[in-house]
Point group: C2
Chain length 330, copies 2
């Protein structure tokens, strides 16, 4: 791949800067960050050509992400000190935010902040929009999800289950597979560290796959391409197995793309911003969460300064659920 | 790839059988074949799992294809002896055909039979339906077509030109590239035998590709994946470079699929049967042909018995346009 996606992650690319708490300019608010979402997206932003990013930033700029925070100063009529808001701002303990780009958080008694970040961020949108708008999931679909114990995959799998689909998940290790079966109530689990992926996929889907929600890339796509039902949709949400490879020659080469022809099938990539259709996606997430049909495991890192090292958990798959950082003030 | 697409073609897999001219059963017609379309599809049918085929056939059955023929016996009220029809029937000098599955050919004075087979068969449908229904071509699109001097590619390129698009074609050798520029009036031509494909593609599309109509597979897809505009559509019509490879390890591995994510792009395969939308596709072809906006080069093989060897032209790219076989009666 061009420079967009190769290169290994080194935590030392982050530096901790200290400075005064900012003051709010006219019409802006200052938030104190409580909880921050750490995502594969952040790793990609470190590598992508700035011209290609939704949020262009350069060396020296703070990383961005979805956070929950409390308003400590407001020069906007819409917000008062003490309001708890969620939105995208810099990885900072305190940041100046345009109130147009935040929305109220739910109260922590209604839903924990960790759950809110796990479900109502771009991660939830990727799962819900990817499954419905990109994957066009139908109740009769036989659905496979990779990275199914991960932040996005676990939501995507539950959304498909809530639609009535038969859903099988791929994850690494017996604990994660047990989570898929026991907590997410999926219809099957494939342990890619133990089983032959292609053989297992064929065994779980004797009539072919209708929808593959892929967070991993590489070998799984090749295996699915040879086991598609006619009209199969492969939703390319992530490619975690390919993100941390420095040598192009080590990237996985997908050989079975011509099968798309014979099955009238498609692979579709997307970013989790559906423009005017975000509202549909958010309503679906809200509805499922209120019915108790979305379970999110969260993996909480305690401490702002631990974030750079914690991001490596996303790469080695050692996070136990949606990775979030609690910002301590000690 | 699984057995669906590997394996080399050997002309000796065909045998010539001789038998009496068949008689028409009730409600059927007997046609004498005049001209037959020879297509990559035929090569794929030799290798695909019979269960996956639109027209299942086994060892000993005749190959099928789109042909033009004249009715020599009719036991159907819809057809009279002497009618010239086009449709899909066996690779036979004489075949029994259900009149429901044929339609009248245009008169040879209005349009030569070769042109009719080149434009109004599944080849034309693949080009027109692939470009419009699958690729959703828009006048503002920057379009790349591979195999652009071939039967499908040349029509697809002209259809995009007729929509007002800027169109660049990929072909092998100076003659084919001259054909693209001089006869098809494309905006650019890339000679993949002489130029570095990736470099040439990037040079011709400084702002990225909106639509790639691919007949070839392999390296071209990888090169395009790194040079897509946001929302790019890759129409996977064929994968000629991959069809005649016997060892899986020699299939090309596409490494840049994760770019689909960052560009909200898709790869979509299809077969050239659009069900109820076939009519839209046929009307588009008819309209463009009548305006003189579709030029088809045809490569005519003279003689039924030469067909097995002629199919190798499709594999080595030595056919000069749409391959058709004239069925002689000497």
């Amino acid at each position: 791949m061009d420079r967009a996606s190769t290169g290994t992650y080194d935590p030392s690319c982050f530096r901790l800067f200290e400075g005064p708490i900012p003051a709010a300019p006219d019409s802006k608010i200052v938030v104190r960050t409580l909880l921050m979402s750490l995502d594969p997206t952040n790793l990609n932003w470190l590598k992508l050509d700035p011209q290609l990013q939704a949020i262009p930033f350069g060396v020296g700029d703070p990383m961005f992400g979805v956070s929950i925070g409390v308003v400590i100063e407001s020069r906007a009529p819409s917000h008062a000190v003490g309001d708890v808001v969620t939105g995208m701002w810099g990885w900072r303990r305190f940041d100046v935010v345009d109130p147009l780009f935040v929305r109220p958080a739910k109260s922590a008694t209604e839903m924990s902040f960790e759950q809110q970040l796990a479900i109502f961020s771009h991660v939830g949108r990727a799962a819900a929009g990817g499954m419905t708008l990109i994957g066009e999931v139908k109740p009769t679909d036989a659905v496979l999800v990779s990275g199914a114990a991960g932040a996005t995959g676990s939501l995507a799998a539950q959304i498909a289950k809530a639609q009535g689909c038969r859903v099988v998940g791929i994850a690494g290790g017996p604990d994660k597979c047990e989570f898929l079966l026991e907590e997410l109530k999926l219809d099957g689990a494939i342990d890619y560290k133990k089983e032959d992926l292609r053989e297992a996929i064929h065994r779980h889907f004797p009539d072919g796959i209708d929808l593959f929600f892929d967070n991993v890339g590489g070998e799984g796509i090749d295996a699915v391409l040879t086991n598609m039902a006619v009209g199969c949709r492969i939703v390319v949400c992530g490619a975690m197995s390919q993100y941390n490879i420095s040598e192009k020659s080590n990237l996985y080469g997908v050989k079975n793309l011509p099968m798309l022809i014979f099955r009238s099938a498609r692979l579709q990539g997307f970013v989790a911003d559906f423009g005017p259709r975000n509202q549909i996606v958010d309503e679906l997430l809200d509805d499922l969460a209120q019915r108790g049909q979305l379970v999110a495991r969260t993996h909480v890192i305690d401490g702002f300064e631990k974030i750079p090292d914690a991001l490596t958990l996303l790469l080695n798959g050692k996070n136990q659920g949606k990775l979030v950082a609690q910002v301590s003030f000690d």
